[in-house]
């Protein structure tokens, strides 16, 4: 069914600004005409977008789909629904499922499943090591031939630097991106929150910032030695940012990501042992948060990636020390960033589009979305003057666990066009 979106402001990627106009999408989902004051053709539904913004679909390169294995937390279908609901029109699935995706066959099964249930592209990643155990290399060639976009043990750091080195050298032959989560197990241990004032007051074992920082420094060195492309997941401290900046300055092909929660919250936001604030890496200090925002703006941090890690409310209802790490992110990222950073003027939509749509697509080898004639219509309609109350029934994810639960944020996603 063809549609005419009237009088909205949309992102013009050539002129790099918001432009007011009409967009006619034909019944094959292609943008046929872009103009001002377009006449309404027959049999075309009109949508009045006055006051609204039309933003190219977002791309989230760190999503835990949970299927196969943990379908009670999320399925690919509910994951897709959640993504679309949050303005995300493409994503990369992490391979930490049960079984973990560490061979070409498993990639194929997953891709078949995706094509059955998901209206949006879900790209696959494969494990670095067999079974994510950190002991031997996984089957890179099989996975590469099936088109995985990156290799990662996601959530587990490869403990042995020598093995990580071999992974990177071997991955280079397939021109595959190596992605690592950044954590030193021996320093993290049973930690539940950032180590410091809050861990003392709450009486919880702490995760020192250096656990991530040491891992990042180590991984960068290995990448520099091997010349492999490295992507660092979930950067969370000021020192980590400094290391990345240093490496980039030296010309190392390293990229990194940050979650929306680390851009908006700190350890001080954890009150009453609310496990909706328990995530990995943990929320850090205000100084870290400020450094992350600055790095996002200056490009040291390349992308925003939500680390959408659903766990059921029941699982999260344990004591803080025992509860699993992770919160949902697909439906809250755009809203939270708008409410907490765009609306107050810290940065603009152009940066969000760059960091949460164009650049992540570029890193995994996709071209960016454009709202121009001849392109596929893939955007969401955003009402900056609207409001969204993130109650449980708002969410499409099976696991509505988020620090923003029951909060009302400025802005509303009216619909996502795919």
């Amino acid at each position: 069914m063809a549609r005419l979106f009237q009088n909205g402001k949309f992102w013009d990627s050539d002129r790099l600004e918001m432009v007011t106009g009409d967009i006619l999408v034909n019944d094959e989902g292609m943008i046929e005409v872009v103009g001002v004051g377009l006449p309404v053709p027959d049999e075309v539904a009109t949508t009045d977008c006055t006051g609204c913004l039309l933003i190219p679909g977002m791309f989230d390169m760190h999503v835990h789909g949970r299927e196969p294995g943990d379908e009670h937390k999320e399925t690919l279908a509910s994951c897709a629904a959640a993504a679309i609901h949050g303005g995300v029109t493409g994503l990369v699935l992490m391979p930490d499922t049960s079984p973990p995706i560490d061979s070409g066959n498993l990639v194929k099964s997953l891709q078949d499943l995706i094509s059955e249930v998901s209206p949006i592209p879900m790209l696959t990643s494969g494990c670095l090591t067999k079974g994510r155990k950190g002991e031997r290399l996984a089957g890179f060639s099989g996975m590469a031939s099936r088109g995985v976009v990156m290799l990662t043990d996601s959530g587990s750091s490869v403990p042995c630097p020598d093995l990580l080195r071999r992974c990177m050298e071997y991955a280079k032959d397939f021109d595959l991106l190596v992605t690592t989560s950044c954590d030193t197990a021996a320093l993290t241990k049973a930690g539940a929150v950032n180590e410091g004032k809050i861990s003392y007051q709450l009486g919880l074992p702490g995760i020192p910032a250096m656990s991530q920082e040491i891992a990042i420094d180590r991984n960068i060195r290995v990448a520099q030695h091997t010349g492999a492309k490295l992507h660092l997941q979930q950067v969370s401290t000021a020192n980590a940012v400094k290391s990345v900046a240093c490496a980039k300055e030296a010309g190392t092909p390293v990229t990194c990501e940050v979650s929306p929660y680390h851009l908006l919250l700190t350890e001080e936001d954890i009150v009453d042992y609310n496990t909706h604030f328990k995530m990995s890496p943990p929320l850090r200090l205000e100084a870290d948060r400020e450094a992350l925002v600055a790095a996002l703006i200056d490009g040291t941090i390349d992308v925003i990636a939500s680390n959408h890690a659903p766990h059921t409310e029941f699982e999260k209802a344990a004591d803080f020390g025992s509860a699993p790490f992770g919160v949902a992110g697909l439906e809250t990222t755009v809203l939270a960033i708008y409410d907490g950073l765009i609306r107050p003027g810290v940065f603009g939509w152009d940066l969000l589009i760059e960091r949460y749509s164009d650049r992540p697509r570029e890193i995994v080898g996709l071209s960016s979305l454009k709202i121009t004639e001849g392109e596929k219509a893939e955007f969401f309609v955003f009402d900056p003057e609207g409001e969204t109350t993130l109650s449980r029934n708002y969410f499409k994810t099976k696991s509505p666990v988020t620090p923003f639960l029951d909060k009302t944020l400025s802005g509303a996603i009216r619909e996502t066009v795919i």
Binding site: G203, D319, G321
Partner: protein, 312 residues
């Protein structure tokens, strides 16, 4: 006097106002006096149920709460749940439902995970008393420590206490230091660098040695229990070394004596680790007074808290 509002639960010291603290500490005194009578009971909580839910084994604290509840004429039931028979998470919510169904008026809960008493308190109408949760808090211990200190020092404001030992893993250190600070008592700490956390409250000034401690002229030294099993080899090399550097033994007892400094310990003591047999006999030891006051304070807390179980 009527700025005080009734409260359902006692979960930590941080949430208590100075008025509430004074109220409990003052009321504990008449309760303590009851111990001199032949009939040590009062009928105040007759017909009320107190559930002692202990997820960690403890003789001292659980029996203290049991005695306190008995002396209030309440009906007491004890549950000790060992960690191995508890499936985490699942069990907590199920246990809470069971507790609700039992319609207990008071639940005393001790758990190895921080934050659990707070979760239970949110989901039950009973008054929840935190008898110790992980490293987080032990509010009744802090109250009895304050009561004991104020008995020997009615002019407690501005006086000084040093806490010695494993502050990192100690809920007693956290609660007692916070309460003493609220009351205007200065708090210092002494212990191995691996057990004195950087994230501690700023008011807890760190001393490098016993000499520095005694130069500061503390009014009381508060020894913490050292968990040998966990800490030896990981946080300090050996028990012998800990004892040599931080233990309360003869020369230090002598300096205490010269200063007229009191000795405190939450119990149970590890003889030969943080304290010697000789030091246990120190004439200014308040350790047994702490135990006695513990019962009085717990009775005062049971008297003070107001469960919502009568709202049907």
């Amino acid at each position: 006097m009527s700025e005080l509002k009734p409260r359902k639960d006692l979960l930590d010291i941080e949430s208590l106002s100075l008025d509430e603290i004074e109220y409990v500490l003052e009321n504990a005194v008449p309760f303590k006096q009851l111990f001199q009578r032949s009939v040590k009971k009062v009928p105040t909580l007759r017909g009320k149920t107190v559930l002692n839910l202990f997820y960690e084994p403890s003789t001292r604290t659980s029996s203290s709460f049991e005695v306190a509840a008995n002396r209030m004429s309440a009906d007491v039931t004890n549950f000790t749940i060992s960690a191995s028979s508890v499936v985490k998470g699942e069990s907590l919510l199920d246990t809470i439902e069971t507790l609700q169904a039992m319609r207990s008026d008071y639940i005393v809960i001790r758990h190895q995970a921080a934050g659990v008493p707070g979760i239970v308190a949110k989901h039950t109408r009973a008054s929840v008393l935190n008898a110790g949760d992980g490293y987080h808090a032990h509010p009744t211990q802090a109250l009895l420590d304050a009561m004991t200190f104020r008995e020997v020092y009615p002019d407690f404001q501005g006086r000084k206490v040093v806490i010695v030992g494993d502050v990192l893993h100690s809920r007693v250190a956290r609660s007692t230091s916070t309460l003493f600070h609220k009351l205007g008592i200065e708090v210092g700490v002494l212990g191995p660098g691996s057990l004195i956390p950087e994230g501690r409250h700023e008011f807890m000034q760190r001393f490098a040695s016993w000499d520095e401690v005694f130069d500061w002229k503390p009014d009381a030294v508060y020894l913490l229990r050292v968990q040998m099993e966990r800490q030896e080899g990981q946080f300090f090399p050996s028990v012998a070394e800990y004892h040599k550097m931080y233990g309360m033994h003869s020369t230090r007892v002598q300096r205490m004596r010269e200063l007229g400094c009191y000795l405190m310990h939450p119990g149970p003591v590890n003889r030969g680790v943080e304290i010697t047999d000789e030091a246990m006999g120190y004439e200014k030891s308040l350790i047994s007074t702490q135990v006695e006051n513990g019962i009085a304070v717990r009775m005062a807390v049971l008297h003070w808290l107001k469960p919502e179980t009568q709202l049907d």
